[in-house]
């Protein structure tokens, strides 16, 4: 473990200034991931800049008809926010299916985006891992890889991004507002996380001296026909083996618009515009869902322990789309799969 200094940021500008002047500094928000990484010696920032007190805690309507969520809004507050529950229930359900109540109370919206993979080898510093130590090799490819990726992998890394919230954000086409020394910019959620390629050490396209200030949701929340289904190795408090966010806009039983994103299968929330296009104009039925699933899973590859995820994902996609079409979204409290 590396000792660190601790400083609070007074405002966003101060936070950016502090991080820009110290390359070995890191922001800390809820700390639910970063503290573990420090304790496991995976990360060793020598300075923690506490951004948890920044005034980025509001959830407000935007002039465009969407919603702007401050980066410091705790996961719990966001999931229970009336505007989110009513207009973006997909996001509320996804958040509530993640972690535990205590963790969701601490975890921030911004931190959830930047949380790191749960690949076992990433956390075990005695084993090779390209993400932790570029060039050292990937232990997971021939190792214990039940929880690893089947899509968008590379020879360098088969890690997943573990977030549930981000899967819903991807389906809802959220944008990420960031601020840095060069000013502010927005990044589409789809472009926020990266594929591992040969630089698995970089999870996201956020620059090291940038801070996430907010997440913006567009007006369309798919509040009538949506579902978030998370399949895991116990019925709560486990990361997804596969999760599916599905959102439909229906006209009778004809699909006008569709969104589909997967969690637990790739280095980023997994979407394919072709899979969604193929649904548009179709009847909401099993054969249409199967076609979408096949497209979304095109090129999926297992690495041994996780081979089953391909077939599991296919069935989970079809089931989630059916739940969305029926208007019977998966409940978080009743674990029976609808």
């Amino acid at each position: 473990m590396t000792p660190f200094q601790y400083a609070r940021a007074n405002d966003v500008a101060d936070a950016i200034k502090q991080i820009a002047t110290d390359p070995s500094a890191k922001f800390i928000a809820g700390g639910t991931n970063l503290i573990d990484l420090i304790k496991y010696d995976v990360e060793g920032p020598t300075r923690l800049i506490d951004i948890s007190h920044l005034p980025l805690r509001s959830v407000e309507p935007t002039s465009a008809g969407g919603v702007l969520i401050g980066a410091m809004v705790p996961n719990t507050d966001l999931a229970y926010h009336p505007m989110i529950e009513q207009r973006y229930p997909l996001l509320a359900r996804a958040i509530m299916s993640g972690a535990s109540q205590q963790l969701r109370n601490m975890a921030s919206t911004g931190g959830n985006l930047v949380q790191r993979t749960r690949c076992f080898y990433f956390y075990d510093t005695t084993t090779p891992c390209n993400k932790r130590e570029p060039g050292s090799g990937c232990s997971a490819i021939d190792g214990v890889n039940r929880i690893n990726a089947i899509l968008g992998t590379s020879e360098a890394c088969i890690a997943t991004h573990p977030s549930d919230m981000c899967v819903a954000l991807a389906a809802l086409e959220a944008t990420v507002h960031v601020a840095g020394p060069a000013g502010t910019r927005t990044i589409a959620l789809a472009d926020f996380h990266r594929l591992p390629g040969n630089t698995p050490q970089r999870d996201t396209n956020l620059e090291p001296d940038e801070i996430i200030t907010a997440i913006e949701l567009p007006p369309q929340g798919f509040s009538a026909n949506y579902s978030y289904l998370k399949i895991r190795d116990r019925l709560s408090y486990a990361f997804a083996l596969v999760s599916v966010a599905a959102a439909l806009e229906l006209d009778g039983d004809t699909i006008k618009d569709a969104r589909l994103a997967l969690g637990g299968v790739a280095h980023k929330p997994w979407r394919s515009s072709a899979a969604e296009t193929v649904l548009r104009g179709e009847r909401a039925n099993a054969s249409a869902f199967a076609r979408a699933a096949d497209i979304l899973l095109h090129g999926a590859k297992g690495y041994g322990h996780n081979n089953f995820k391909i077939g599991l994902a296919r069935r989970a996609i079809m089931r989630t789309l059916a739940q969305a079409a029926r208007g019977t979204p998966q409940s978080n409290s009743d674990k029976k799969i609808r």
């Binding site: 005695t126 214990v144 990361f239 391909i310 077939g311």
Partner: protein
């Protein structure tokens, strides 16, 4: 006065626990306390050829770094390291003894610092140079190296021949992976060195075991070492043997002549003992009438390279089912891992799981109802010894369990019951464990104000020992329970065995009864000495202590208040110490039994399994406290759900390391995994097993649960999964 024995009395230590007043081994603060942090081996086998501690020593607050090179002296012979639970054969692991690395996660250095965080920071700066040696950690890959150990179960007849000619046969292998105990409380020890005397607060299930062990390891006189463990945040067998942190804490305290605390991290606890991965092979042969002709049970389990740890996996069939031909074999495979150890119902949790799955498969082959098959094969005698039981209400467990569950509504055909998109499965299994007693001594100090202190060196590992002891003492002394205080977990208290094997309740409570009788005798003597004593001709067994009085059993009007008797004799206190009587009698088998019924609902497409109902009907002699007993069995059921569906220590055999050494990735059931659990205690009066008829409940709750669930999953899906845990990808063929 109401009898406390048998009532649903709340834990007398409950308040202390929820308020934080109860202190655990890592919470005893002493002035000048030094904190130790363990540096573990990154490799599973080899030698330490260099340790560079200079970086660690530079860290502010670091006092010293102990390694095998500079540690204080320790004993150099195996006997000194043999605790009560140590295996007969082998060399117990010696912490920080020499340069040999025997398993991954082995402690190689102890950083000692003024505070824990500095110790941890410094620990990451200790540089160790290894000489690696080839290692093996995979049971399956090494099964050819298995060697048989002596098991007490003798063969009968010719099982192989009988199996070959049986009308209906079932043979299969079952597998249970390595599992870890994961008690909530981290292992910790605080060692206080004071001028040649040692006081240790340790997380342990046996203070006197640790005390004797430390005397051996550090060549100290018994009266110079005191070990205390007043409370324990879960043991489950992990704390039966002294764990390495206690040795490290004492080494630190001796080296620095200051108090030292060593607390392990969650990850480090995966280098302690564990339930050994076990391959179980069952071969059952039945005649067409549905009774057993042949029973073969073989087990191959993991142990370390340096000790041969084994528990009875294969003998349980001898207790449950009649079979004229039987054969049992227990083998071990040595791997480069720590020595396996006891974990909740050691041997039975695994062995009975396999046996009861095999019986279910045999029932399918015979087209017989699983309960019916068990009744057809029911054995009223322990066949190995050919002796009857002190009591055995297992038939009644089947009957009451089945009735509560609604078993008669079961459709035999797999996949024949559903609930919408879910397949419904009903499975059952039997459970069996031992009803043992070990020698224990209890001291009672009765004061004239009507207060009694009851003391023995037992540990309450969370099961409720404090409470049941207070209940029994209150009844035996005729005092309200609030007047009883219980002292446990101190090696200077009267002798008591380890808290394990489900024997503490019977051992300690029978000792309380004997001690209370001695106290009663003293009181009667005092009462008789009073002028015109109404009890002048009474003998000790003709009087009872009730409502604060010594009362004639024949004539309740003849009574003397305890306080008056003591005052009149000028006795401020009566102190007595007696032991239980452990029967030498080998004419009866002593066991507890259960019948477990489980309902699962399995999503047909996705394979997601929900255990929606469990009924566990237990016959375990006299139940001392309905509330704590219920909790104990319920906890066993929850653990059985975990064993069936979740638990598995994942190794990467290339590195010889545990990959999920944390409780985010080592899954145990959470609330969402646990639904209705009904616990039934079947009445089982038993005057033979021991005077109070107590059999113990520690282990039985988990036995059979995993099998009942596995059998239910089969009934739901038609898919027989024989390797635990039953994850969704084993139930559904996805690709």
């Amino acid at each position: 006065m109401a009898s406390y024995i048998g009532s649903a009395t709340s834990r007398i230590d409950g308040r202390a626990k929820v308020t934080g007043e109860a202190r655990y081994a890592g919470e005893f603060n002493v002035p000048g306390l030094v904190h130790g942090y363990v540096v573990e081996s990154a490799i599973p086998k080899g030698r330490v050829v260099g340790i560079d501690t200079s970086g660690a020593l530079e860290v502010d607050g670091v006092i010293d770094v102990l390694t095998h090179r500079n540690r204080p002296p320790m004993a150099d012979n195996d006997d000194a390291y043999k605790d009560e639970v140590a295996t007969e054969k082998g060399s117990p692991y010696r912490p920080l003894y020499d340069d040999r690395i025997l398993f991954g996660g082995q402690p190689l250095a102890l950083v000692l610092a003024e505070d824990w965080e500095s110790a941890r920071v410094a620990a990451s700066r200790v540089r160790i140079e290894y000489q690696k040696e080839p290692h093996v950690t995979d049971l399956h890959a090494q099964r050819d190296t298995a060697f048989a150990i002596n098991t007490p179960e003798k063969p009968r007849g010719d099982a192989a021949k009988a199996f070959a000619s049986a009308a209906v046969r079932h043979a299969a292998e079952y597998f249970i992976p390595t599992e870890h105990h994961n008690p909530m409380e981290l292992f910790a020890s605080t060692a206080i060195w004071d001028d040649g005397r040692l006081t240790v607060y340790d997380k342990t299930q046996g203070v006197q075991n640790v005390q004797q062990y430390l005397c051996g390891v550090f060549k100290m006189k018994p009266d110079a070492v005191r070990v205390m463990s007043p409370y324990m945040g879960g043991g489950f067998g992990a704390g039966l043997r002294p764990q390495y942190q206690v040795v490290l804490a004492v080494l630190g305290a001796r080296a620095l002549k200051r108090p030292v605390r060593v607390m392990l991290t969650r990850a480090q606890m995966y280098a302690l003992g564990y339930r050994p991965a076990t391959i179980e092979r069952l071969a059952l042969g039945a005649n067409s009438g549905g009774t057993l002709d042949a029973m073969t049970h073989e087990a191959i389990a993991v142990t370390s390279q340096f000790e041969e740890f084994a528990r009875n996996d294969v003998g349980w069939g001898n207790l449950l089912y009649k079979s004229p031909n039987a054969k049992f074999e227990h083998k071990l495979v040595k791997l480069d891992v720590p020595t396996s150890c006891d974990m909740r119902a050691p041997g039975a949790a695994t062995g009975v799981y396999a046996l009861e799955c095999a019986m279910d498969e045999l029932a399918v082959a015979l087209k017989t109802d699983p309960v019916q098959l068990r009744l057809q094969c029911y054995s009223d005698r322990n066949q190995g010894e050919d002796i009857p039981y002190t009591s055995k209400q297992l038939r009644e467990c089947y009957r009451q369990g089945a009735a509560a569950f609604g078993w008669d509504k079961r459709k035999a055909e797999p996949r024949s019951m559903r609930d919408g998109s879910e397949l419904v499965g009903w499975g059952m299994a039997s459970g069996v464990w031992e009803a043992l007693q070990m020698p224990a001594t209890v001291r009672i100090v009765l004061t004239a104000n009507g207060h009694a202190e009851v003391a023995t060196a037992a540990s309450d590992i969370g099961t409720g020992t404090y409470t049941i002891m207070a209940q029994v003492a209150a009844d035996m002394l005729g005092l309200p329970i609030d007047n009883i205080s219980v002292k446990l977990g101190d090696s200077t208290l009267p002798q008591c065995p380890l808290e394990g094997g489900s024997w503490i309740a019977s051992s300690v409570c029978n000792a309380i009864a004997n001690t209370a009788r001695a106290v009663r005798g003293d009181l009667l003597k005092l009462a008789k000495g009073m002028k015109d004593s109404p009890l002048a001709d009474a003998s000790v067994d003709e009087v009872a202590l009730m409502d604060g009085k010594i009362v004639s059993k024949r004539d309740a009007s003849r009574a003397v208040p305890i306080a008056s008797a003591m005052h009149s004799g000028n006795a401020e206190r009566i102190t007595r110490e007696e032991a239980n009587k452990v029967a030498e009698d080998k004419s009866h088998a002593r066991n507890v039994h259960s019948a477990v019924f489980a309902e699962v609902k399995v999503d047909e497409e996705l394979g997601v399994i929900r255990v929606t109902r469990v009924v566990n009907a237990v016959a375990a002699g006299r139940i001392l406290n309905l509330k704590t007993a219920h909790s104990q069995v319920m906890g066993g059921v929850v653990w059985g759900i975990g064993m069936a569906l979740h638990e598995e220590t994942l190794f990467d055999h290339r590195f010889g390391r545990v990959m999920n050494a944390n409780i985010a990735e080592y899954h145990v059931p959470v609330n969402a995994d646990v639904h209705d659990i009904e616990v039934i205690f079947v009445e089982e009066p038993d005057e033979i097993v021991n005077p109070l008829g107590i059999k113990g409940l520690g282990e039985i709750g988990i036995v059979g649960v995993a099998a009942a669930i596995a059998n239910a999953v089969y009934h739901a899906t038609g898919k027989r999964v024989r390797d635990l845990p039953i994850t969704l990808d084993k139930v559904v063929q996805f690709n």
